[in-house]
């Protein structure tokens, strides 16, 4: 890490703060008219009318900016380069996982995330030097809030950030504030790398899920409600710590139990 004589700035940069404020204000304005339950397509979504407008904006932004960039990225960047960037994005999320695992009392996961962050920090995470197959379960502040029994709240479609719940959105803000990389990387080249982290992560995610994302975007009958459903199921999996390497089934088990009870 290069020493920078530049004075230390605030932990949350002005740009990040402005962005967050804009997102909150937009979400609040768009969602101020709560729909009665009978008019909601999902009971968890009282701000559906506003959320759908934000979703349309996000999809427009995706069409004109993210999708072409992600397409160029997946076709233009060699496989090794994409893997390195994916590794870096994953590595950059390790402090959040370590902190939130510790807050939730998951000591082993916190230890693994810390170790991964320290070892792979030698390459800024671009090369995965840890040859341990033990999965590190991603934890964020939204999950910490859930573990503390904070209610999930309403569904929100946030500009640029996409689907959230009130709780997970609060968690995202918490993670940004607590982010140690943001604090450590103030000043110098590391700050530039850090500022590029979010857009790079977005493009990396969009490129990795390119076909599945486009199938929902262009072929779903109602892409908004499909995205909402996928979000809730993914989030449920995260809250139950179900990851790639573990066996388990989603919350939808209950729906299948009900289905067979009705059938009999």
């Amino acid at each position: 890490m290069r020493y920078s004589p530049r004075p230390a700035g605030p932990i949350v940069t002005r740009a990040t703060f402005t962005f967050l404020l804009a997102a909150i204000v937009w979400s609040a304005v768009s969602g101020c008219s709560s729909l009665p339950e009978s008019q909601r397509s999902d009971l968890r979504d009282p701000f559906e009318n506003g959320n759908r407008k934000v979703f349309a904006f996000n999809m427009g932004f995706d069409t004109y900016v993210i999708e072409p960039v992600a397409d160029a990225y997946r076709n233009g960047v060699p496989e090794g380069g994409q893997r390195a960037i994916g590794n870096h994005v994953k590595w950059a999320g390790m402090p959040s996982t370590a902190i939130n695992s510790a807050l939730q009392g998951k000591a082993e996961n916190a230890g693994l995330a810390t170790l991964n962050f320290l070892v792979n920090g030698l390459t800024l995470g671009f090369v995965d030097l840890v040859e341990d197959d033990t999965p590190i379960i991603k934890e964020d502040f939204g999950q910490t809030l859930a573990a503390a029994n904070v209610p999930e709240g309403s569904f929100l479609m946030v500009p640029f950030l996409g689907p959230k719940t009130t709780r997970s959105f609060a968690g995202t803000i918490g993670d940004m504030v607590m982010d140690p990389i943001g604090t450590l990387a103030r000043g110098g080249n590391l700050q530039t790398v850090n500022q590029l982290r979010t857009p790079v992560a977005v493009v990396d995610f969009r490129a990795r899920t390119f076909d599945a994302f486009n199938d929902v975007k262009y072929n779903a009958i109602d892409p908004y409600s499909r995205v909402r459903s996928v979000y809730y199921q993914t989030r449920a999996g995260m809250l139950e710590d179900r990851v790639r390497s573990t066996i388990g089934a989603s919350e939808s088990n209950d729906e299948f139990d009900d289905f067979f009870e009705d059938e009999s």
């Binding site: 496989e79 109602d222 459903s229 179900r242 573990t246 989603s250 939808s252």
Partner: protein, 211 residues
Amino acid sequence: MPVSSAVKLCRMASMLMLFTSLVIVALPAGADNHSKAAEAHIEAMIGSAKALLTTDSDDLAARTEQVTDLLDTYFDFPGITRFSAGQYWRAASVTEKQEYELVIREVIIGTVVRNFDQLKGLEYSHVASTEKGSKLVLVTGRFSDAMGERPSVLVNWRVTTLPGKPVKVLDIEIENISMLVTQKQENVAIIRKNKGKFGALITAMRKKLAS
């Protein structure tokens, strides 16, 4: 206690022990059969899909026909139809049910045909099976990229093992996302947005298929 009563008691105790041991032996055997049948069904389906992939061409009509055959053989379309309509299935008229059955079938086949290419180069391996009552088995497997370019993906197949009916796949869950639950929640959202009109869903589906 008279000797005859003691003998009777002994006989009854022996019968009870025999019956209990039979039940203990029979229960897991039945459950195991369900799991085995579900696993065999998935293995057979993967085999058929692999065979289809090796002969697959860019001919969309041919692929659609082959995928339709595959889905008809291995998937529980009547169950998928009812589940995906949610609570609105019961209230739908006979005509609406018939129309919906045709249109959801077309939607599902279209989805599989569009994404069938993504199975190319993937190897499937069985991971585990979990009984979910007597009617459902969750078969877990993993798709791995033979070239190692894509991360491996964990898949849960929900396989129905209903008495007197053939074993069929009801749902696929990929990385915690159930395809059937997603379809159902989307369908229910469309019906609710249209004040509970089941016909609105059929119209929306037809419109999408025509576009």
